[in-house]
Point group: C2
Chain length 429, copies 2
């Protein structure tokens, strides 16, 4: 299928952060083959099967959500405004224990749909059982980095089975899926288990998803045990030999920053989750100043309480200015790069997506800018970060396939998904 998008204001998110005022994008199969500033000979020669007129719309690379737990939508707004212990042990865990596989499927389908509806074309997901996530990714035709199983049922054969599992899924489904090993966190895994997961990732040639330094208790607990920070201990166990995306990184020492830089660790900054749980505010201005690859994550809906990626970009652009009392930190272009190219690099898709350039995979969105809150469109980068709403995302394309058009889901049944999640919530909550 050859798809032509015409008359779009294009933000390619290339190295120059250029803007094409009225451009054409040609997609052949899964690949971008044309990005033109006007209706060139190449455009005229492009034999499109379908043409989308994007007049009044802005084309951008799709957003990359580098940390989520999609099925937790079932628990949205359940147990809000409670102390962490009551929330976790009184509400979250007892309800999650009652989830059937089918519940997890519907919760995850809703979570992925919600992400797509705010412009996400590539996501990291982490939930049990991880195979259901993989199935959902295929059904949604979204691009994803899936964390492998957290709990394994066969301790004797765990290592071999783990390697086989992540190897099997990594680079599967037409390259849409990267599979990672998982270390849930240093405070939930033993040293032995952590070392085994690293070895498995190395053997299988995959990356690693991990939570690091989310809340002060983690720092305190690890420091008491080892007189080192979580980042330092994980480094000493060789975790960062493997390409790692580290969620949160809210509480870091100077030494931790050195490790982030030296080992080229990608950070998944989750501002809403960190704010809502009272975890704190990560030092993103310093991360950016030190050249660390910072990306953006929604985390799960239970600690957010939505998976609206545009809101997360907005939070990222806003909170650090207020927190540091400096309006110059974390500017609009930086946030857009965090949401696209940085995210793609974090999830192992850096060569394939994150920008709209010839040869890249066609993961892109059209944003309807004919809205009161985007009028006048004085600066498209600022508008995308400071003014835009998730609901302005009109069309979502992944790997050349249309996942949403005019805000209607193309491949999945939105009403059926909402119906089933409502039924599950009624039963469990």
């Amino acid at each position: 299928m050859k798809l032509l998008i015409k008359n779009a204001k294009i933000l390619p998110v290339d190295a120059a952060m250029s803007v094409i005022e009225n451009g054409w994008i040609g997609i052949d199969g899964s690949t971008i083959v044309l990005v033109e500033e006007r209706e060139t000979e190449a455009v005229l020669a492009f034999d499109a099967d379908r043409v989308i007129d994007a007049k009044g719309k802005m084309a951008m690379p799709g957003f990359v959500n580098t940390h989520s737990h999609s099925p937790m939508t079932i628990l949205r707004c359940y147990g809000d405004d409670l102390p962490l212990n009551e929330w976790l042990f009184g509400k979250m865990i007892p309800t999650e224990e009652k989830f059937s596989k089918e519940d997890i499927y519907w919760g995850g389908m809703l979570g992925m749909m919600e992400q797509i509806k705010s412009g996400v074309t590539c996501l990291a997901d982490m939930y049990e059982p991880s195979n259901i996530l993989t199935d959902m990714v295929v059904e949604n035709q979204i691009r994803a980095n899936i964390a492998g199983p957290h709990i394994t049922m066969n301790p004797e054969k765990e290592y071999e089975e783990y390697v086989a599992h992540i190897k099997k899924w990594n680079n599967s489904h037409d390259g849409l899926i990267r599979e990672s090993a998982i270390i849930h966190a240093i405070y939930t895994y033993s040293e032995e288990k952590i070392r085994a997961r690293v070895a498995a990732a190395k053997e299988a040639g995959t990356g690693m998803q991990i939570h690091i330094s989310e809340a002060p208790f983690e720092q305190a607990q690890i420091f008491e045990k080892y007189q080192k920070t979580p980042m330092q201990m994980l480094e000493s166990w060789g975790v960062f030999d493997v390409p790692t995306v580290a969620a949160h990184c809210v509480h870091l020492t100077d030494g931790d920053f050195e490790i982030l830089k030296k080992r080229d660790i990608s950070v998944a900054h989750c501002p809403s989750s960190n704010l809502k749980l009272g975890s704190g505010i990560a030092d993103v201005p310093r991360m950016l100043a030190e050249g660390i690859n910072v990306s953006i994550g929604t985390d799960g809906a239970s600690s957010n309480s939505n998976l609206n990626f545009v809101e997360e970009m907005h939070m990222t652009a806003m909170i650090h200015k207020g927190n540091s009392m400096n309006p110059l930190v974390v500017n609009a272009k930086e946030v857009i790069r965090m949401a696209t190219v940085n995210g793609a690099k974090a999830l192992g898709f850096g060569n394939e997506v994150g920008s709209l350039e010839v040869g890249k995979k066609a993961d892109l969105i059209l944003v309807d800018t004919d809205k009161a809150h985007l009028t006048p469109l004085n600066n498209p980068f600022s508008a995308a970060v400071y003014s835009m709403q998730g609901s302005d995302v009109d069309t979502v394309i992944v790997n050349g396939k249309i996942l949403m058009e005019n805000r209607e889901m193309s491949l999945v049944d939105e009403e059926k998904i909402k119906y089933n999640v409502n039924k599950i919530a009624k039963r469990l909550i």
Copy 2:
């Protein structure tokens, strides 16, 4: 006109913060005459001219935006990510100086429309010339507290004319308008001018709109001059003898908190503006703990960069938890009260609007909850604050009149407003 709304989930925002799962609201002219939990005899006897079926929708009091400068939409995203001085003196002021009255009219019409589209039914506005704002309020049929002229052209007769002006507009237009005196800020007005404005407000029987303690420079400058804080100096000049809505209040001393409490000053908390300009984060948890009437403001689009009130509620609920590292502060119900009843009190409409109760004026919104990000609706208060988007506001009613229905503006021409603002921006920016 008698309007009946049926099958709504109702959050009346009464003292008990009750929830009506499937309720009826009857409106006779401008007044709420029925709020019923089921189809009672009174509902059956209500002879409605029009019935709205609100199945799948949530009815709430309309939101009260207690600080804005609507016409600044023209400058949206213009000069973002710049130091304050360059932003203000290099971009804002030179462009504002070129605004014609017509420019201000269209910019303000867009700003008011944007607010209505995110559920605002009552707003505070502050811009020059203030008469244009009053005209716009009438055209939009919105409820408002308008700050009187900032600059006056006739210094000899200033006092008399000021009193006459604010007296004339206060309580005008079927009670939709409150007019306030204005003190722009302690660092822009002389003591004499401040005292004259207070005397005028007292004589006319109006309130006062003022910016207080927005940024550290204000504190430093006033302390150097008087060895007191801005709040203390304004108190010593009698400003708070008049009902005051104080925007920002980011930098306060213990003594300032005492004044806020003792003088029952209403605070307009503007989280996005304070974050984006790097002004800091106001201590809202302390304000709430001390029983201060805290409300919420968007400020102008040039320092925000939108007038999406739902986003402002969301910011208010999120940032203080992260900033104080305490997930229990500023909970969902508190934010909803800030956005409704507290705002109504701040703007002098406390007896008339802010809750959905019999005898109150019919200022209310219907929120479409049939959205992925509001599914499942486990807790309507949390959902409204943590998950809801501005675009979920489906219908807006002020004083019994429908201003927006199914997201279509009923009284103003959205396309014409956007067209004109785009034309102005093209000319000036």
